[in-house]
């Protein structure tokens, strides 16, 4: 019983439950949903698709999580995804063998975008939403400038393997996403960056007075987010074997922020959860997949999405959990519930 209670109190329980419920829904509709088989030497099946598709979203959301943890926001990630893809495609269009250069170009644009955002936010002092809005608007223009408004096909096999190939039977993009998760987790848990980011998000004034160079860290976080977006851009463009300046990563920023919040990270900054973010991204992708596979009519998909988002956040709400805890207490009188810690000022 105690186990149940501790489990229920864990912040990641509800995202997990949601994910399970969505999967059950899929299973009810298609009993072979979870079946994975080998096809042409690699794994094939709906779960693999979901992971594969979720990879860019996961990577972008990692960057967004850190930005949000510092009380910021980055709405330019979608545009950066487009620019990075366009930059790589432009290089490859000239010479398909220059895969290394293409990757460097994509990552370079990501860094540049991050530096730009970081400068405006951390050193100029613009409000993050406006600072990144500039790049969101202009960035898509830049991507289109690179592609000339066309969809540039990409044929270089070395590049395509990243988003469309397999390593040890598993899609490369899944490996890359795993690596990104591991790297980010190491970065925030094994260095003091996690502490610094949380501190800045909770009380920037006090953090600065504790002797931290907050501006540099905030700057660095935006650069990180830019790089993450660029990696996502590489995966996205490689997966569809083309770069589309206008549509690549369209509205990705919204999905990323949604993933972060579904994972239980507050937009007010401070404490964050990488695992939650990854779960959030998986929920979004599974939901999308589910609406396709169970045949929700296209005009109803938005309503379904709204309903799921609302339900997930409502069951995660502190108030509802307190109610639930009180109920549990009545059911198991011996159990002393863990009161919900009220976020104090």
């Amino acid at each position: 019983m105690k186990l149940v209670r501790t489990a229920l109190a864990h912040p990641l329980v509800w995202p997990v439950v949601t994910l399970v419920l969505l999967t059950l829904l899929d299973l009810a509709h298609n009993s072979a949903f979870l079946s994975i088989r080998m096809l042409d030497g690699h794994l094939f099946g709906a779960p693999i698709d979901i992971l594969n598709r979720a990879a860019p979203l996961v990577i972008v959301s990692l960057g967004t999580t850190l930005v949000i943890a510092t009380r910021g926001i980055d709405i330019s990630v979608g545009a950066v995804v487009a620019i990075a893809g366009a930059a790589a495609a432009t290089v490859l269009a000239d010479d398909p063998s220059q895969v290394g250069l293409a990757l460097a170009a994509a990552l370079g644009t990501g860094i540049a975008a991050g530096v730009w955002n970081g400068l405006l936010v951390a050193f100029v002092g613009m409000q993050p939403i406006i600072a990144t809005l500039i790049l969101m608007v202009a960035g898509r223009g830049i991507a289109q400038l690179l592609t000339g408004g066309q969809i540039i096909p990409i044929g270089a096999p070395g590049y395509l393997v990243l988003g469309d190939g397999y390593l040890a039977s598993v899609p490369c993009s899944v490996w890359i996403a795993l690596a990104a998760i591991a790297a980010t987790a190491l970065l925030v848990n094994r260095t003091a960056l996690g502490l610094f980011i949380r501190a800045i998000g909770i009380n920037p004034v006090a953090t600065r007075l504790a002797g931290l160079r907050s501006a540099s860290i905030v700057f660095g976080v935006y650069v990180f987010c830019g790089v993450a977006s660029a990696v996502a851009g590489i995966l996205a463009s490689s997966n569809v074997r083309s770069a589309d300046g206008n549509n690549a990563g369209l509205l990705l920023e919204l999905d990323a922020i949604l993933a972060v919040t579904l994972g239980g990270t507050s937009l007010a900054g401070g404490r964050f959860s990488l695992a939650g973010t990854v779960l959030g991204a998986l929920i979004i992708q599974t939901l999308t997949y589910t609406t396709y596979s169970i045949g929700v009519p296209p005009e109803a998909t938005l309503v379904v999405k709204a309903a799921v988002v609302l339900v997930v956040s409502v069951i995660q709400s502190a108030t509802i959990r307190a109610l639930l805890a009180r109920h549990l207490q009545r059911v198991l009188p011996s159990a002393r519930t863990r009161p919900i810690v009220e976020a104090s000022e």
Partner: protein, 375 residues
């Protein structure tokens, strides 16, 4: 402890300069100045730009955005955000069209129903946000999906409104000099004045500022936090519906893809107008100029007429950037200059607060503040 002169009688010159000195009004003063500069720039560059028609056109063509931005200002000042505004606008246009074309309701009934619906929709989101302690972003995002999804469930087509009453209202206009103002613009102007009154002369308005400044303090000060927060979203929903009505008049039709991304325009206009996303700071009038600046940038580009699609975006971004940079630079300069003034110690301290943040107040600046504009 009267350590400093309290400064009761200020010289006249200082009263004029005050908007530029008071950290609360400075961002607005700067915004207004830069708006004038931007408009002047257009007038010099393009023939036909400098005319009352263009200026009034800014109001006419952006009236719905203005109304929505006004609602958004309240939400942001209260420390929240409302992403549902564009979708509610679209839903309103559809409801109007369905009401008039399919149900054949009279205009007044449609207006009443639609406005009530908008307010209730907002209130429902506000209640979720406050009572379940959910994040405004996520609730209003769901609200956006829901409203837009409902549009498509009603119809994926666009519905033209043929009702003569709608046409009559849409055709109504008053002359103003060489230009004219239509019904939508007039509604926007009235909304603006009402909003300013609400913000500065009603307890509700002041509570919005208090809640945005520090919600916990507001609670401990015995202010009706719950009511205020729910009402703020209700007001924003109401404004979205009103904006939707104006938009319906603007295009005399209903369509579910209308107003895409308008939430971002409204947020941008509000923030450009000096409102801080962290809450507690901002003025309705600032958002007016925010909308004006976005509109002017767009007008500049159409007047230019040589830009390709992508250069359009890049130029919008660049102008936005130049504008915001100038805004920051002038603000910094002004606060610095002010602290040179002899003995104006308290002001200096206030400005310091603004700049103590990690070398750039954006992170959590609570610097300038909102208070009576005309107090």
């Amino acid at each position: 402890m009267s350590a400093l002169p309290s400064g009761q009688r200020r010289p006249l010159r200082e009263r004029w300069l005050r908007p530029l000195i008071d950290p609360r009004t400075l961002p607005i003063a700067v915004t207004v100045m830069l708006f004038a500069v931007l408009f002047g720039f257009g007038s010099v560059m393009y023939t036909g730009f400098f005319s009352l028609q263009v200026l009034l056109g800014l109001l006419v063509d952006n009236s719905f955005l203005l109304i929505i931005a006004i609602g958004m200002t309240f939400v942001i000042v209260s420390g929240g955000i409302d992403l549902s505004v564009g979708a509610v606008l679209a839903l309103t246009t559809i409801l109007c069209a369905v009401g008039s074309e399919r149900l054949h309701w009279p205009v007044w009934a449609i207006v009443a129903v639609v406005l009530a619906f908008g307010a209730l929709y907002g209130a429902a989101m506000g209640a979720l946000i406050h009572f379940l302690k959910l994040q405004p972003f996520i609730v209003t995002l769901a609200g956006m999906f829901l409203a837009r999804g409902t549009c498509f469930l009603i119809t994926t087509q666009s519905i033209t409104i043929n009702d003569p009453a709608f046409h009559a209202i849409a055709g109504f206009s008053v002359r103003a000099g060489s230009g004219s103002l239509n019904a939508g613009a007039l509604v926007a102007i009235v909304t603006l004045f009402v909003a300013i009154y609400i913000a500065h002369y009603t307890r509700f308005g002041r509570n919005v500022y208090a809640v945005g400044g520090n919600e916990r303090s507001a609670l401990l000060m015995g202010l009706p936090v719950a009511r205020t927060k729910v009402l703020v979203y209700a007001f924003s929903g109401f404004c979205s519906a009103l904006g939707g009505l104006v938009f319906t008049l603007y295009v005399l039709s209903g369509y579910g893809l209308q107003g895409q991304g308008m939430e971002l325009d409204a947020i941008a206009a509000t923030v450009i107008g000096g409102t801080l996303l962290t809450g507690g700071v901002g003025y309705v009038i600032g958002s007016v100029f925010g909308v004006g600046i976005l509109g002017t940038i767009q007008t500049l580009i159409t007047f230019d007429g040589t830009l390709s699609s992508w250069w359009t975006r890049i130029v919008i971004g660049a102008l936005l950037c130049a504008f915001c940079l100038l805004q920051r630079v002038i603000e910094r300069q002004a606060t610095r200059r002010k602290s040179d003034g002899t003995g104006a110690g308290a002001g200096a301290k206030a400005s310091r607060k603004r700049r103590t943040e990690p070398d750039g107040g954006a992170l959590a600046t609570q610097g300038g503040t909102g208070e009576q504009l005309a107090g």
